[in-house]
Amino acid sequence: MSDFDSQIKESQAQVEQAQAKVAELTSRIETARQKMAEGQDISVDIENASLDDVHAHTDLMNANIAELIMGLDDVTAGFQSDFDELRSKTGWESVVGIFSKNRSESMRQERLRTASIDDKLQDLIAKSDTIVSLLEGQLAELEVQKGKVETNLSGTLEERETVVGELEALKGDIQAMDPQIITLENKISVETDAAARTALETELAELNAKYNEMIREEQVKLARSQTLERYIEKGKTWVDSLTNQAATQMVLINKLQTDTKQRVVLYDALTKSLKTAQQQDVAHRINEIGVKTDQEAQTAMAAIGSATNSRMAEMLEAHEDHMVFAREVLEAKAKADERFARRFATIVEKHDSNAYGG
């Protein structure tokens, strides 16, 4: 179990780091926005806000948490021994059985009566809860960041719209100036009076200066619109990435919750079914007969034993109403598993091939 604790600690540290990275990137994007509002050049800031670093970290974190979830499987493998013990005799009981079958059987019965897996189930829930709260913390943080970037983006989008509008208006104005200039030039070419010609030429020079000014302004607006566009692109990618990360968290949470629910329900049902099957009928037969018991018990036990010594699945099939629910849970689990496997194919592979060294 110490292994589980240390793994949890490791994951917690990674979640913190990943959150720091995510927050840092968001704040960089926000700083860029401020700088842009002040009219500074932000192309460097945008280029620096690289997602790769964040992604590398998030991947590491998710891999670790996925590993943690798979690790729970190993924890729960311990339940199997409990079930086996409910069905069969312990070593000591078998030894006693060589000398006295009755004594051995009554020892087993006594052990059955005190058997309980409640503590283990609680432990399982507690462990799964710890992981879920870890994941939910991460999910909440991702959503906060996403919200921030999204408000930021919508502001920027509006701004870009204004800039583009201004740009269009400017282009229109520039085009409207062309006929004015042409008319003036034509006038100059036919004008013979020197004074009038000078006046016209001054007018043309003024018009040209205004024209050039407008062209320059167009360049500035164009550059601004492009910067805004790049900024928006970056922001969109970041939002996509955050959405994707959040989806991953949800898949992990879903997988874990379905698994835990399924385990608790099945283990609980199985233990109780086993306990009931192994002692109920015997108690009944014994009661009224009073003393003439042992033979009766042996026959009953043999009959029940053959029914219960079969595998876990068969055991559950014997309880049809249980099965209906179990099937639903199993279907839900299959779905969660599939989603999980899609996202974590490599980790599952490594886990299955024991590439992590146990």
Partner: protein, 367 residues
């Protein structure tokens, strides 16, 4: 192990818990009526009352936990058994215990109610916003505070013994304990009257008492018949003699708006078409097993021990269902309006069942 479904909406969740608050209040009154008519003794009513109060607290805690279900993304949703019991799923109570074990961390890590309310006011006045997040935080805070207050009905409520008097050398005890049965999602209360011939009085015996407690808890399964439990206990503890064992299954709860059980009660509630607050019926079952006589049996080579032989319901021997108990009684508690519908329809299965009709003023009528 039944069909459970989450309640998605916060309003529905609140209505569900309001219903249970009413039901647990009435339960206490019905227990009082049963004391007055002599079905239960004063001690038994006290014991039952404690568990019923525990249930009230448990439901109150759960109602706080899920107050914002469906409203805030981080809020969980209550799973309840809509097909059979109408009660919350047993897994909810397992989580309750897990939460209770981490109480300190949660209480230390959150602000107290007054600070939160203060901040809410600031948010409302200052930002002119509905402080949903703060409300949620407060509901969680109140949840953990309720857990900290204790006396809840847990998944397992370990045995307690009440001394009832002495018969010569024999001490008589009433041992009581309760579990939330995870197979049927119902609270189940056990009362066992036993005689103790041990050297040390049972609750003071540091060797036997923990063993007895562990044994009884491990055997508290709804699908084990009383006979099985009593015989197993008799066999494992030679100087304890179970004389009478009773088990109360509180529930199922029927409600036309919430549950989808089959059977006559569903039709009754549909016909009653009762308004919110009166659309429910609660059935409870009492099983009782009484020791008929005791026999002395050989134990080992020299010892002799006393073993009980229990009386069984005669219908079992006559080919009826083998209940593994001496008596099985069912009773039903419901408000006046569904009761009228019940009388009009008169389903045959419910004619023999005792009916406790409750009114909002707290009066209980027995039919």
């Amino acid at each position: 192990m039944n069909d459970t479904t989450p309640i998605q909406d916060t309003r529905v969740t609140r209505r569900y818990f309001r219903k249970f608050e009413r039901i647990t209040q009435h339960m206490g009154r019905v227990a009082g009526v049963m004391e007055a008519e002599g079905t239960l003794t004063k001690t038994e009513v006290e014991v039952l009352g404690r568990y019923i109060a525990g249930l009230t607290y448990t439901f109150r805690a759960l109602s706080m936990k899920y107050l914002f279900a469906g409203r805030v993304s981080g809020a969980g949703k209550l799973m309840f058994d809509f097909r059979e019991s109408g009660f919350p799923a047993a897994a909810e109570l397992m989580e309750l215990s897990v939460d209770a074990s981490q109480l300190d961390r949660h209480l230390a890590g959150s602000e107290n109610a007054d600070t939160l309310k203060d901040r809410m006011v600031k948010k409302i006045v200052g930002d002119k916003e509905i402080p949903t997040k703060l409300q949620f935080a407060l509901s969680q805070r109140l949840y953990y505070e309720e857990l900290a207050r204790g006396h809840l009905f847990w998944l397992r409520n370990d045995p307690d013994a009440i001394w009832q008097g002495n018969d010569g050398e024999r001490r008589r005890f009433l041992v009581h304990w309760a579990v939330y049965d995870s197979q049927v999602n119902l609270p189940t209360i056990y009362l066992m009257e036993l005689e103790d011939t041990g050297r040390t009085s049972l609750p003071k015996d540091i060797r036997r008492w923990p063993e007895v407690q562990a044994h009884l808890m491990a055997q508290s399964q709804g699908d084990l018949k009383l006979l099985t439990i009593a015989r197993g206990f008799d066999l494992d503890f030679s100087d304890l003699h179970p004389k009478r064992l009773r088990r109360f299954h509180l529930g199922p709860m029927y409600s036309h708006a919430f549950t989808e059980q089959t059977g006559p009660l569903r039709k009754v509630l549909a016909q009653a078409d009762a308004p919110e607050g009166e659309d429910w019926a609660l059935v409870w079952t009492e099983e009782e097993l009484i020791a008929n006589h005791a026999e002395m049996q050989k134990s080992g080579w020299f010892g002799r021990v006393e073993r009980q032989v229990f009386a069984l319901d005669p219908t079992g021997q006559a080919g009826g269902p083998d209940t593994g108990a001496t008596f099985t009684r069912r009773a039903i508690m419901l408000p006046a309006r569904p009761y009228q519908a019940l009388e009009e329809l008169g389903p045959p299965g419910l004619r023999e069942v005792r009916k406790f009709v409750v009114s909002p003023s707290g009066r209980v009528l027995v039919y």
